[in-house]
Structures are given as C-alpha cells and as structure tokens.
Symmetry: D2
Subunit: 387 residues, 4 copies
C-alpha cells in the first residue's frame, strides 16, 4: 500500500474497533459464550498484540513491550510465537481490564505512529496485514457478541436502532458459459491487498452453469421449514442429519420459536424479504436439495460475481460454497509466523464467498476466501443457489 | 430470632456481601470458571432473589417484583419456583449489570425494612433463613472468585494485604471415651438458628477414639508429596486414584510447581505451619492412610469439638469427615420450596465439619454440616486426623 | 472352613460357573455391553486367575502359570498385581477363546486339587475367599449377560423356561424397638465365612422403626409410574432427577414400552405381584418418597432381617439401603493384594442388603454388604420400605 | 455387465467373503473395536441384506425374507429403508450366530440363483452393484478385524504366513505436462462398472506437476519420526496437530514402540522398503511438508496413474490426496435408497486413490474414489508425493 494511504487505513481501522466496542459495557466485553468465540476485549487486545509482536518488536528499535506477561494471553494460535492461554478460557481474563486494554491500544498506536514515517517496505506490508487482520476480528467481534447475547434470556440488543427494511430483487438465474476462467487475486492489477490464501492466481475450467441473482430469503427458508425440511433425512448430508438430531435443530440459530428473529437489533419480526442468515453449511445444502438446486463452487462464485444483475454480492451474508478450503495450485505459506495465518486451517472447512452486513467496508473482494467448519452457524452466513 | 436482633443480622449480612464484592471490578464479578462455581454478581443477585421470592412476595402485601424477567435468571435449583437459567451459563449474564444488581439489592432491602416491624413469626423465620443462606453464599463468593482468579495466568490477588503468619500448636491426640452422645442441633437450648439438615437431634453410639488437636499442616502435606504420595495407588480410594490419573493431580489445587501457593492474598511462599487447604476428600483420605490414621466421622468430630485443646475448630479450613451426607433419623424436608434447601442433595457427597477463613463470623456451629462431592477442591477444605 | 468341607465348596463353585455359562454360545460369552459389565468368558477366566495368582503361585511349589501373557488380561483392579487390560476393552478379547479359557480352568482346578490335601491354613483361607469371590462373579455373569441381551433388538432369553408365578404376602409393617444392636459378622459364632467389609462387629444405636415385611411389587411400582412419578422433580434426589432427564428414564431398565418386562426368561408379561427389580437407588428413593416412606439404613435392615414375618430377605432382589458404603469402626484392609478387595471402593456407592434370584445358594448372609453406585440399574436391585 | 459374466462375479464375490472370514473364530467374527468398525459377522450379514432388500424383494416374485427381524439389524445407514440398530452396538449382536448368518447367506444365494437367469436389466445392474458393494466390505472386513486384533494385547495374527519381502523401485519423479484432462469413469468405453461418485466424466484443467513413481516407504517415514516430526507443530495442519496432542500420536497406528510393526501377519520387524501404511491424512500431509513436497490432488493422481513407471498404483496402499470428497460437476444421486450410497457422505472427508493389499482383485480402477475422514488411520492408507 502506498506510503500516503497506509496511515489513514491504520487510523481508521484502529478507530473502528473501538467504535464497535463502544455500545458494550465492561461486562459485555468480557463474554465468551463458546470455545469458538472470543470476548470483545480479547479481540481488542489480540489485534493489538499482532501489531506489537509482528511489527513493532522486529521493526521499531527500542520498542518496549507494554506488559511482558500479556503476549501469552493474547496470542491466538501462533505456535512459533510461544505458549498461549487456552482458547476456551479467554472469557476468564477479567484482568487486564477493558480500560487497561485500551491503554495497551494507545501505547501500540503511538509506537506505530512513530514507526510509520520511516517504515521499511516489509514493515509497511506487515502493518497493512495487521489492518486487514483487525478487520477480520471486527466482524468476529460482532458475531461473537451476538452469540453471547443470544445466550442471555434477556436477549439484549447490540444496536437498538430499527433494522433497515428488506426489499429483495425478484429472483432470476444468471447464465455463465463456463470455460477457462482466472481465479484468485490479481496482484498485477495494482497495489491492492489480498491474503496469501487468495493466490496464486491460476486458471480453472468450468462447465456452463446458472447462479441466482440474489440470496435465499427468510420467506423462502420458512417454506422449507414448513414443508418439513428439518425432519426429512434424505435432504441432508449424513453429517448434517446427525447434527440436526444431536443438537435438536429445528430452525436457524437465531430464529425464535414464536416466529421472531434475534439479531444485532435485538428481537424483531421475521422479515420474509431479508436474506436468511446464521445458517450452517449443512442447512444450506439441505435447503438447496429441497429447492432442486445446489450450492455454487467457489470458482463458479468468483467467475459469476461480476455478472450484471449479481445482487447482494458482499453486503448481506457470506455465501456457503460447495468447495472445501484447500490450497490453490502452487500455494506455499510464507516463512515464519505469518505463514501460520491461513495455510494450516486448510482441511475440514468450507469456503464462503462474498461478505456480510458485519464485514467492514473495503475489507472483502471477489477473490476473498472466508472459511468455517460445516456446522458453524453463528456467522452471517446464507445461501446463493446455483444449478 | 428475637425481633430485636433480626434487623441487625439482616443489615450486617446484606452489607457484608457488598463489602466482599468491593475489591472486584465489574469484570471480576462476572467470572464463572466452572459449572460448579458462580459469578460474584450472581451470588449478590441470587441471595436477593431468595428474599424477594420467599419472603417479600408471600409476606409483604403490595410488593412489586423488581423485574419480572429476573427470577428465572437468579433461581438456583428450586424446581418448585419455576424454570431456571442453566447453571453453567451464569457467567454469560453480562446483563443485568453489577450496578443494576446493586439497585435490585437496594429495592429488596427497602422492602424488607418495610416488612420487618410487623413481620409474622413465619416471615421472621424466613428472613433469618435468608441471612444464613446469604452467609453461605458469602463463603462461596470467595471460593468461586479465587478459583476464577486461579485460571488467569496473571494470578491476581483478591486481597493484597500480606497473610497472617501461622504458628500451629504442637500436634497431640485428644482422647474421647466414646459411648452414647447427642448429635445435632439442640433447639431446646435457646433460639439459635440451624439448618434443617442439622436435626433431628438424636443419640449415636461411638467407640472410643482419638482425634488430632489441630489440622494437618502444609509442611506435613509436603512430606506426603515428597514421599511419592501422588504416585502410590495403594494409598488411594479407587475413585480417587482414577481422578489423580485422569486430572494429572500432583499437588493441592493451588500449590504451584515452583513451591509457592496461590490464595486470597495472591501468590505467597508455602507456609509450612499453615493448615493445608483446597484438598479433595480423596487427597484427605490418601494423606490419612499414608499417616497411619484416618478421617473422623462427622459424629466423632461433633462429639470431640468441645474437648479442651481442640484447636482450629472453625477458623481455618473445613474438615473432611468419613461420613457421607445422609439424613439424620427422622429427618423430613419442610413442605414447599424451603424443603429443597438441603434434603435433595443427600447422596454422593461427603460431610465437612468446622469452618474456614472464608466463613462469615457467627455462621458455623458444632452441629453444622457442610457437604461437597469427594473430588471438589476449590473450597477451604483440609484434614484433621483421627485414629 | 474345615478341611473336610472346603473341597466340596471348591468343586461345587467351580462347576456352578460352568453351568451358568452353559446356555451361552461362544459369541454370547464374549459380549461386553458397557464398561461396568464384563463378558461371561472374562468372568470364567478372572475367577481362575484369582486362584492362580493368590493361591497357586504363592502356595503350590513348582506351579507353572498356564500362560505368562494372561495375567494382565484377567487381573481386574489389583494395583499390586501388575498392569491390566483396560476394563472397557474386555469385550475385545476374542483370544483366548472360550475353549482355551475352559482349559485354563481345568489346569487350575487340577493344581488346586493337588494343593488341597496339604494346604496350609492360610492357603485354605485364600481358597475359601476364592470360592466366595467366584460366587460374586456368578451373579455378575448373569446380570452382565442380561444387560448385553437387553441391547440386542431380538431380546434373547437366557433361560427359556417360564418364570415362576409370584404370589407376594400381604404387605405389613414389622416393628423394631431400636436400641443398641450388634452389627457385622459374628466370627465367634462359628467358622463361617465373611468378607472383610462385614467387620469389625460392633454396636450401633437405633431409634425405633418399622420395616415392610416384603419388597415393593411391580404392581405398586406401576402405580408410581402411572401417577407421574418420573415427571415430578420434587420426589427425586437432585442427582437422581438430573439422571432421569439426561437418560430419559421413564420406567425401570428392563420394562418395555408395551408393558412387558425383559428378564432372564426373555420377554414376559408384567407380573404385578413380583418384586420390582433392576431399579437404581435414585428410583428406589423416589418411590419411597412417593409412598410416604423411606429406605431403611443398612443397620436397620440387619437388625430387622431375623424378625418373624420378614419375607423375601435374600431370594428375590437386593435391597437398596439409605447407607453409603463406608468402613465400619476399626476396619483396616488386610495387607497385600487381598486388601484391595473391598476397602478401596468405600466412597460414592450405596449399600444393598439381602440377596437376589441370581445370588448363588449359600452366598449371602445377614451381615452381607453389597454395594453399587446410585445410578446402577442392571442388577437385581429392588426396594424394601421403612418408616 | 453381460448376462454371461454376472453369475461368475456373483459366485466369486460371495465365496470370497466366506474365504476371508474362514480364519476367524465365532468370537473373532463378533468383534467391534470402535464405532467406525464393524464385526466380520456383521459384514457377512449386511452384504447379504443388501441383496435381499435391494434385489430380491423388488425383483424376485414370491421371495420370502429370511427373518423379518433382521433387516433392522443389518441395514447400515439407509434412511429410506427403515430403522437401524445403532452402529456402535453392532458388536453386541451375539444373536444371530455366525452359523445363522451363513444360513442367511445360503438362503439369499439360492434366491439370487433363481432370479439370475431371467433377471431384468435393472435387477442385473443391482446385482452387479451388490457385488461391488460386497467387495468394499471385504476390504473393511480385513481392516476392521485388524483393528480389533490390535486392541488385544496378545496381538493375534490374521494370517500366520510370513509377509512378502518388499523391494521398492528407486524413487523418481514423473513429469506431467498439465493441461485439460478427462476425469471420471468413461462409461462409453465399455460395459465396466463404476460407482455413481466416479461421474459424470468431465474435463479438468491441471498445471504441470511432478508425481513420485512410488509410495513413501517405512524407512523414509522412520526418518521423519527420528527427526522429530511428531513434535514439530509447524509441519502439521492445525486439526492434525490438535489430534497428535489429544491422542498422543508418536508413530503410525500399528507401529510398536519396540520398532516392530503389527499387521495381517502379526508382529513383524519393520521392513524399511515396504510402503508405510495405516497413516491418517494429517500424518500424510505432515510428512509431505517435512519432505518439501505435497500430496497430489485426486485429479493429478488420476491423470498421472497411467504414466509409464507409475508403480504401486493399486496394490499396496490407498493414497491420500489433497482433495476433499465432493460431487463432480453435474453429479446427481440416483432416486431411492441407492442414491444414499455415496452422495450423502460428500463433506468432511478426503479422497484416497489407488487400492491396497486388502482390495479385492478387480475392484479398483483409475477413476475409483475412496474416502475417509482425515483422522482415520485403520485403513491401508499411505502416501505418494507430488510437487
């Protein structure tokens, strides 16, 4: 990223995290509702630790670590960066306090400001990575707090403002002729940022296909439920049906038995035109089967997303694809800790494409590969059909 | 309790809970480190709910419940008082906030003050029960926050003041001639309070026995460890040995590998003269076996606790007994919700007698029966030997 | 036991085990349906290992172990006798075959026959212990194969002969005046056998009580179910209610939804007059609570069992008592492996008294203490009420 | 398949299953050592049930089911064919006996012989499917009994004959130019059999790659272990490393601590030239990372397997690929129960290509797609490197 733009990106990113946490009390920011989710406070600290450890320590001479005891608290999963506090116990860290974490942020922000004017290209690249890393955690901060609030019988609203009404476009099938397409981030096209898992850019061969111009709506999904979708094993993948039975699933994660839906705005009436969200991959597949369609592969999605009339690409819900998360041909993780960023998760997960209402502005792009295990359903994850 | 003393007891009890919570931040007060423990905030609210539900609603005409949605949050285990928030999820209640819970306490305190002057005998008895109930939670508040802090690698101190040095009396065996002894609370002796499980008072027959004048010390327990106590299966009950292996126990819960000990005052050097604490029943039994002694029964303990020279009866650590928790002859739970207080827990637990550094002043008495599962070791629980 | 009688006991005991296994195919004899149960073949081998290890190796000069590799397969839980094959994996031992295990039995029987004429008093005592040990496993062989068969949808019958019809005596309460009673095996009264846990004989003080002259019947238990007993939490101990909900209990373990009952004779119509069996302690307590009564303590049972009119003492079903399994005053386990027999299990279990249809003739006696965890319900375990 | 060849295939297949079970005792044939594995007896019965249910019932007028109660015992996972005995409890079916299962086989074989001469094309296709289905279970019968034997400390040999010595070809890299290749079974090339998941045949685009001419050997894998492969997290996928730690993996499943290897021939010295087998996908990936290579995709494997010099394609061990198991473009499961055969498992598994020492002759082919979860390591599964 250009020397001119990076300070703005950094400043905006760091400020946005605090803005997202602003509606939360100290107690809210402490919540960890399951091992897969993290407290908001931890997100604020971990993203800061990332800058401290990967940028400031190697690149700012004389930098003093804010607190020697904290790196093991806020390292997430980097084996090459020392021992870590157990992930399921992040919610037990009442100390440091939220105020202390904010002081940590200021300390690191000041040091980054010192570093920036004379930062090397390598340091600048790491700062840019740190910004995109923090943006990922901004979305997780929202999905994680939403899950935590869903566990409180009071069902508190993160944002009391009424939600925007949804008026979806009429459904239509977009045609794609197939053929050889280019997949992955095009580094040659400019100085934009991409994660390592979006490359190498390579050719793929597609058969002709059709893809829906918009996401499946809550109304359509309600029809699936009403027709017995959660009781018909033949619609489901085997692992999916086992999960339905073991977990007692009867509807999406945040749909309430009375027909209303819990979300960032608290409990609201179901909006039939809104995209259905908080679905697992299993539910997405069962719905597609019921609808006589299928999920697109991630390559189909990427090839089609710029077709005219392709709505709701990245602003509503991530879209499960039929592709498992695997390395692109020629992919090699970077050496060092940064190499642990993506590659080691490339098994047992499904790729989602697009972006959601919780994705920070400017974060996603057509080559972006999000990924979650097939049973995950606390994300803003929905369905776009193909056939 | 006399009309004169009850207001003082109530006032002091309610104030003491707040005093115990005073060193805790909002975040600390939210911590739940395991299903068996509860957040300090929850203790403050639950004890208040107890007064609201069992005293104010039936006995104060016109009482308005503070918040209709809260009883299900703060009911602990009373099946007859409606549905309850799942116990392992108490730590997920960031709302209501600690401040709101304190407002709840003020609301209920004010109503109790209104009720007291004209309270019926039944209402007064329930208020007294509510005070002793709250005192039990005061001890749990301390043991629970201590466990939570023990899960934080920073090992914060609840109370930074240095601990009192321990100078234990020389060990000696006290003789008891056995014979028929009276066991249980003596209601005829005055108007003192006791829980239902301390009666009916009844006779029991004891063989002659000896009991130690003091508790086992940390130094003595360290000898047990040094001699391989945690590696010798023949010292252990079968369930105990299985637990040692499954949990990897090598020392008491809060003893650190470097020889120091974590506690309310943070990390301190091991004090060889201090009573060993935070032991499970299994460890207590294994130590006794190693020492060529045994644990006393709860009847022996009660019969012996007034012998001259019986030190550390109730001010250091609860003392595991060889008695399982069972009803006394003729015990019948009271009708209604109050009947759920003790009786339904009378299986699978061991009785502890005495009291601890965390027991509120005036709470314990010789007939008092504390109880925990044999693997529990987050309480101030130690050993007094018999033979 | 006298030199004259011991050979007969040994011969009869060894033969009876084979007779019990006779209706079983090689495949049946291999079944292990849960970690707590063992295959019939394993019972046949383990009881033989017991004689080989505790009697023949120390007491028969020149004895050759049948197969050096087998002791680790057939040691049950004796820490002092070396490593053991994991208990939950006993059902995976297709080798040695049932035929080989029978050859093992013959080898050991022959060696015992060699030893007997000149056996020392110590050896004779161990042989007698081995016989009673094997009798315990004879009952387990039946309860374990019954549980295994209950897991087969074909519900095979162990014994196809029709069951004896039950005509229970009319229920009556027997009075006991209480007072000081002698508890435990009276070694002075003759040369009879008892396990270590039945002593030392000692005095206990009982309050006056009443005890039922017979066991609770299936008809009475069916009334408890019909009145909603499995849906009313206030009847249950807390652990019991949690188990009812977690396991979905709605009736005794072998009662089928269609009103018939599975047992040693296969599926039979419910016999209202037969004693209810295969109950857990939790169910026994809940029934007693519903019936306005309670379970007797093990001391009450022992003091009452010789009262005139005390029916079904030891021939129908073991009877849960309100006593947890704990050492009698002055109990000390024997030194060596034999000391592991009983003492190390003295926590977390409830005592049952009496005997059952599956107890070998001559095995039980009034001082006999059987014990199982409170949730166990694959034994012939029923209820005798007290009040 | 031609009318002429089908009877031979059927006869040979049915006979081979019995031949594979011949070395097993009734007790061996009953073993189920984990939920993922099945008893040999169950394999013999299930494959028979498949013919009875999918071929004889719909296609042979007047066919009488052998035993009305058995279909629920031997249905594996077909939701459309009624309820099933729980998979983890297959080892509890001592009844029917092995002899009865063999009678079942004869009954069904006779009926199939009656049907064959006049069988419709649809029935003939189902019989052919049934033969290939049974062949799959023949391999599982071997891998499952091997796992069961591995749980017995006696480590019995399935086949006592000494194993063939291995003299692997010198390692070399075969070049593939990439480009558009045809993937999947070519139905147009003849009347050969393929499973539904091998189609539709379609084009795929490959980058140029190299692939090893042979499998990784035990000697090479021993070097990986000796260099600390199981202790270096950076070599492993994240899920793989978590498994290594949770399961305590230190070497392949059947390698013994003393350096010998357990297998169908019992315990044998490690043969450095033999292909390493019984590896999980995680171990395969970690080895490849350590070796500076990678696993091939399933498309690369299929495109390369006919290259000159491509050794050990299908006769040693299945070869993990970097491809997750997913539907080919245009794949649609067949209607009815047969449609449950493959499609519903297409998530959470990795594709293996090739074949193994346990694969029946004539069963595998270049388009064959085997699949297992990434942690599975009781199959004959090894590694062929690519780069």
């Amino acid at each position: 990223m250009s020397t001119r733009l990076l300070p703005d990106l950094l400043r905006a990113t760091r400020a946005h995290s605090l803005a997202l946490a602003a509606p939360l009390s100290d107690e809210d920011a402490q919540l960890q509702s399951m091992p897969d989710a993290s407290p908001a406070k931890w997100h604020l600290a971990h993203t800061t630790w990332f800058f401290e450890t990967l940028v400031l320590q190697p690149h700012l001479p004389g930098y003093r670590v804010f607190d020697e005891r904290w790196p093991r608290l806020f390292n997430s999963y980097y084996e090459s960066l020392g021992p870590r506090h157990a992930r399921p116990q992040r919610g037990l860290l009442s100390r440091p306090s939220l105020d202390e974490v904010k002081a940590y942020r200021r300390h690191v922000d000041a040091a980054l400001a010192d570093l920036l004017p004379a930062a090397s290209a390598e340091a600048r690249a790491l700062i840019e990575l740190g910004c995109h890393h923090e943006q990922q955690h901004q979305e997780l901060l929202l999905t994680d707090i939403l899950h935590a609030f869903s566990c409180n019988p009071l069902l508190p609203a993160y944002d009391a403002a009424p939600p925007a009404p949804a008026a979806p476009p009429a459904q239509a099938w977009l045609q794609h002729p197939g053929g050889i397409v280019e997949i992955g981030f095009d580094g040659a096209a400019g100085d934009g940022f991409a994660f390592d898992n979006e490359g190498p850019r390579h050719a793929a061969l597609l058969a002709p296909f059709e893809i829906s111009n918009r996401l499946v709506t809550c109304g359509e999904y309600a029809d699936f439920i009403a027709s017995g979708g959660y009781r018909e094993p033949l619609l489901w993948l085997s692992d999916g049906w086992a999960t339905v039975q073991a977990q007692g699933w009867q509807r999406p994660a945040y749909w309430l038995p009375d027909g209303s839906v819990f979300g960032l705005h608290g409990v609201q009436p179901l909006d039939p035109g809104a995209p259905v969200s908080q679905l697992s991959f299993y539910e997405a597949c069962a719905f597609a089967e019921w609808a006589g369609a299928r999920l697109p592969t991630e390559f189909e999605w990427e090839a089609a997303c710029r077709l005219p009339g392709f709505h709701q690409a990245a602003d509503q819900a991530w879209q499960w694809t039929r592709s498992s998360y695997a390395p692109y041909p020629g992919f090699k993780p970077a050496p060092g800790a940064v190499g642990e960023y993506n590659g080691k998760f490339m098994v047992g997960q499904q790729v989602l494409r697009g972006g959601s209402v919780a994705t920070p502005a400017g974060h996603a792009r057509p080559s972006y590969r999000n990924f979650f295990p097939p049973a995950a359903r606390w994300q803003f994850s929905g369905v776009r059909l193909a056939r």
